[in-house]
């Protein structure tokens, strides 16, 4: 029971309520009985003292029986107390019912009055077979106590009333406890119910059912949990789809070169190796296609490393400008099959930064390759670097087919290839993004479908400009590769 939220809630709220109710009950009971008994005593006392004072003032010198008679004859009509006049031995001279008695009353109140004070007493009276409260006041004549005026009332109605009130209080307390218990049950159900539902849903999701959706019932923490569960589900299903896409893409990418390798292999087997030019062409195709396969596999390896977080940047002070100039040379000089021309706009000053140049080169090569790939035949692409404060923006711009707006967002996610029919793993941009992110920069892609695409890499620069030496060093390293 205590292992469930419901059990804990019930126990805690129950205990809290019980404590509060108990404390209140005790306070209430004490207050009520104090109020009733003190008030009653005060009422009786004020009557007794008033009557005794009157008698003492106006009947000084009279004998006790005379005063007793006067008190008896002048009782307030409907006097609610029993009035007794006692002599010094505590014998009843007369009571308000007209009886006298030889039996001695010797309770504390009477003793106090016999000593000249006002005394009160509560206790069980054998005479009346009930609990009584009595207040005695001395009757004084010429400064001498001659008797006692005693007012007594039954306290049974007080006990009954107090018991009744306490009974009600206990009933109300029990009702409050029950209500609280019920409320906490409801609250527990409201909390636990959605969580249970979510549990069922998440179990379904875990088994691969991505069609289920958590229903957001309330705008609370559980609702948020439902939302994020739904979100997670969406992401999972996207990943699932992407994975499937990727597998089919990669299979396709792997099959194309393998098909041509196999084709040429069979041709060579069937045709023999007599026709040297054909044989050479076939072998060269096999070599090229094998390279493509290797590249593809390396991309995959790289990516999985990035994903696993195994790639560490070996940051050293470098000059980005040198790298870009080198790329400019490489692409201008080597040219390409599609006859795309590269225009490079670089600043005069060095662009110092801490970076892993090999990785950065991989990024820009990827961007330039993409630009060339998506450019029209004999089109042109532009590599521009501009410095802004401590940042450098390097953009690669092409006039190619561009990216449709709906694809633009997804570009750069792993395995996403867009709607283009071009071949590729769809990993290049994802890997580039990862590298740039590890350098503390970001990649922004702007594109208009049919007009062209601009990819801008923004990287932070190092504060100190004294990098020319190390930059050269980096450059040397790159040239050596």
């Amino acid at each position: 029971m205590l292992k469930s939220i419901r059990g804990r809630l019930l126990l805690q709220i129950g205990l809290l309520l019980l404590t509060i109710v108990l404390v209140l009950e005790v306070v209430f009971a004490a207050a009520v009985s104090t109020y009733y008994f003190d008030s009653a005593r005060q009422i009786v006392q004020s009557r007794a003292v008033t009557a005794a004072t009157l008698s003492n003032q106006f009947m000084e010198g009279y004998t006790l029986p005379e005063r007793a008679r006067y008190i008896l004859e002048n009782l307030v009509p409907g006097e609610s107390s029993r009035v007794e006049v006692l002599d010094l031995q505590g014998r009843t001279v007369v009571d308000s019912y007209g009886f006298s008695s030889e039996k001695r009353v010797r309770t504390a109140d009477v003793r106090a009055a016999q000593q000249g004070g006002v005394g009160s007493y509560s206790g069980y009276s054998d005479a009346f077979k009930q609990r009584i409260m009595a207040v005695s006041s001395p009757l004084v004549s010429y400064g001498e106590v001659i008797g006692t005026l005693r007012f007594s009332v039954s306290t049974e109605p007080l006990y009954t009333e107090v018991a009744k009130l306490i009974g009600w209080a206990i009933a109300i307390g029990a009702a409050v406890l029950l209500l609280g218990f019920g409320l906490s049950l409801i609250i527990a159900r409201q909390i636990v119910g959605p969580i249970k539902e979510l549990t069922v849903i998440s179990r379904k999701m875990a088994t691969g059912d991505f069609t289920v959706r958590a229903v957001r019932q309330h705008d609370d923490e559980v609702g948020t949990l439902a939302d994020s569960l739904n979100h997670m589900n969406e992401e999972l299903s996207k990943s699932e789809k992407m994975k499937n896409d990727f597998i089919s893409t990669v299979s396709h990418e792997l099959r194309t070169p393998l098909t041509s390798i196999k084709g040429w292999g069979e041709t060579l087997v069937v045709g023999g190796l007599d026709d040297e030019p054909t044989t050479m062409q076939g072998l060269s195709v096999i070599t090229n296609e094998t390279d493509r396969l290797i590249g593809l596999v390396e991309d995959l390896l790289d990516f999985s490393k990035y994903q696993a977080g195994e790639i560490k940047m070996r940051s050293v002070p470098v000059d980005l400008n040198l790298l870009l100039q080198q790329l400019d040379l490489q692409y201008s000089w080597s040219g390409n099959k599609r006859g795309v021309t590269l225009h490079t706009f670089l600043p005069e000053d060095p662009l110092p930064m801490h970076a892993d140049l090999n990785r950065l080169k991989q990024v820009f090569v990827n961007l330039l390759d993409n630009a060339i790939k998506f450019s029209d035949l004999n089109g042109e692409i532009r590599l521009t670097a501009s410095r802004e404060d401590l940042q450098v923006h390097v953009s690669v711009e092409d006039d190619g087919e561009g990216i449709p707006a709906e694809d633009l967002e997804k570009i750069g996610r792993r395995f996403y290839k867009g709607s283009s029919k071009m071949s590729g793993s769809g990993l290049g941009l994802a890997i580039s993004k990862e590298i740039v992110r590890l350098h503390g920069g970001r990649i922004r892609i702007e594109s208009e479908y049919g007009v062209g695409t601009t990819v801008t890499v923004t990287l932070p620069l190092a504060v100190d400009d004294d990098l020319s030496h190390s930059g050269v060093k980096a450059h040397t390293t790159i040239s050596n590769e």
Partner: protein, 501 residues
């Protein structure tokens, strides 16, 4: 949500039904219900009483109830006697007699007297031992006006007047000792100037009430009672006569050989021995019709109450006696104790005890002190009235020539304010004391007074025999409480029953 609504409804219901009937403490107060017989008697008389009646009680009575049971007609079934006043008539006292028919009470007769108050009511057998007469004394209201005694017999359910006499003092009891009661009355003086008065003994004489004996006095008679006078269950008439010649004397009349005699016939020689507080020898009882005929009297300097002082059921005669006081310059008041003597049934009055009355406190002087203590009043004039010291006299151990007073007990009266200051001091010093009375807040205008009894803390450096004597006289706190008559029993609520006659 539904549960909350239901619970809310329940709570409201609870509150409405519960709180609607909460009664205030004042509303709940009522007198404890009478139990047993009292209740049935009280209920029984209600139907016969007029609206707005007031129960009234006699000033003197053998039993002071306004509602009482007594067998008047001697049939073994008690009658119910109720005394009451009507609300609209001031000068009327009613006595109603109810008889029991089967299980219900029925009104038998009603006696209406023209009087302010009922002075006397008793039920006594005067003529026959089997039945009783109802004696009613009416008080006309004024202090100088005579009171009227009516004696009724109750025969066949009706009250019949037997006797009627004015009186000033009344006492009823069996003086002769034959099972019938006699009425002793002092008739009012016809002439206010005449100091003489009479004591008449009225009793059964040939089947009717007649005067059995008369005694002439030379002064007014006070405090007349017929009570047991000796261990041999002889009743006596106790009274005091305030004479014009000397201050007054006590009398104890008994019936001896068909004569009324005054036992307290004390020769001057015997009287002078009273300071020793030993038994007093009586002379031959005085049977002269005129009490003033002899000088052998129980002379009293002030009227001290005769009473049963030791609680053995036999009344003692009081004799004011000066207490031994240290010599003082003139002007210091003489202090008195009331010495009580009991008749031995023959011719000796046995000393019983000494009572010292001060500030409303009736302190019994321990018998072992008698003859060994003296009373000392402080020298300071202003404090004279506020402190009394009982001291033991001995010779100063250092200077055997000068006597020395060692306190045994100090009574002190002071204002409540002074007591508030003194109490912590006494507590601090761990002094032994008893608060005898503490009259606070009772009578407006009168200042609160506290009376305490202080016990000495040491033996004042006494040695030898003096120390032994002194130590034997010292009191404990419990003794002081006992001597002062302060209840030390366990408290209890008296159980009540109707007094049966």
């Amino acid at each position: 949500m539904k549960a909350i609504k239901i619970a809310g409804l329940l709570l409201t219901l609870l509150a409405v039904s519960g709180c609607g009937r909460i009664a205030s403490p004042g509303d709940l107060l009522h007198a404890p219900n009478l139990v047993n017989e009292e209740q049935s008697l009280y209920r029984a008389v209600q139907p016969f009483l007029p609206a707005g009646y007031q129960l009234t009680t006699p000033d003197q009575s053998d039993q002071g109830s306004a509602i009482r049971l007594a067998d008047l007609d001697g049939d073994g079934e008690p009658e119910l006697i109720v005394s009451y006043k009507k609300p609209d008539t001031d000068y009327e006292v009613n006595i109603m007699i109810l008889t029991k028919k089967g299980d219900t009470w029925q009104k038998a007769d009603q006696i209406t007297g023209s009087a302010m108050d009922l002075d006397y009511l008793s039920v006594k057998p005067l003529l026959h031992q089997s039945s009783s007469e109802l004696l009613l004394g009416y008080d006309s209201g004024g202090s100088g006006l005579p009171r009227e005694l009516f004696v009724y017999s109750f025969v066949n359910g009706k009250a019949k007047e037997l006797f009627h006499e004015s009186y000033d003092q009344i006492a009823v009891g069996d003086l002769i000792g034959k099972g019938l009661d006699q009425i002793a009355i002092v008739p009012p003086n016809a002439d206010a100037e005449d100091p003489h008065s009479q004591i008449r003994l009225i009793g059964e004489q040939n089947g009717a009430l007649g005067i059995l004996a008369k005694r002439q006095t030379d002064g007014s008679v006070l405090d007349m009672h017929i009570e047991p006078a000796s261990a041999s269950s002889v009743n006596g008439l106790f009274a005091q006569v305030m004479s014009t010649t000397r201050s007054g004397y006590g009398i104890l009349l008994t019936w001896d050989n068909n004569k009324l005699v005054n036992l307290l016939s004390l020769s001057q020689q015997s009287y002078d021995k009273r300071l020793s507080r030993k038994s007093l020898k009586l002379e031959q009882p005085d049977d002269h019709p005129d009490l003033s005929a002899t000088e052998n009297k129980w002379w009293i300097d002030y009227p001290a109450k005769n009473r049963d002082v030791d609680g053995d059921g036999i009344w003692e005669v009081a004799l004011p006696t000066p207490v031994p006081s240290l010599e003082k310059p003139s002007g210091t008041p003489q202090l008195w104790s009331d010495s009580y003597y009991r008749w031995d049934g023959k011719s000796t009055m046995t000393f019983v005890e000494d009572r010292f009355w001060q500030w409303g406190y009736d302190l019994r002087i321990p018998s072992r002190w008698l003859g060994k203590y003296e009373i000392e009043l402080p020298n300071e004039q202003e404090n004279t009235a506020s402190e009394v010291r009982f001291v033991y006299m001995t010779n100063d151990p250092n200077n055997s020539e000068t006597p020395k007073a060692i306190p045994l007990l100090t009574l002190r009266q002071m204002t409540a304010e002074a007591w508030d200051m003194l109490e912590p001091l006494l507590e601090n010093r761990q002094d032994e004391y008893v608060v005898l009375s503490n009259t606070r807040v009772i009578t407006p205008g009168s200042s609160s007074q506290v009376t305490i009894a202080l016990l000495p803390q040491d033996n004042a450096g006494l040695t030898g025999e003096a120390l032994q004597n002194y130590e034997s006289l010292r009191l404990t706190l419990d003794e002081v409480r006992q001597l002062a008559g302060i209840d030390t029993d366990d408290e209890e609520e008296a159980s009540r029953d109707v007094e049966k006659y």
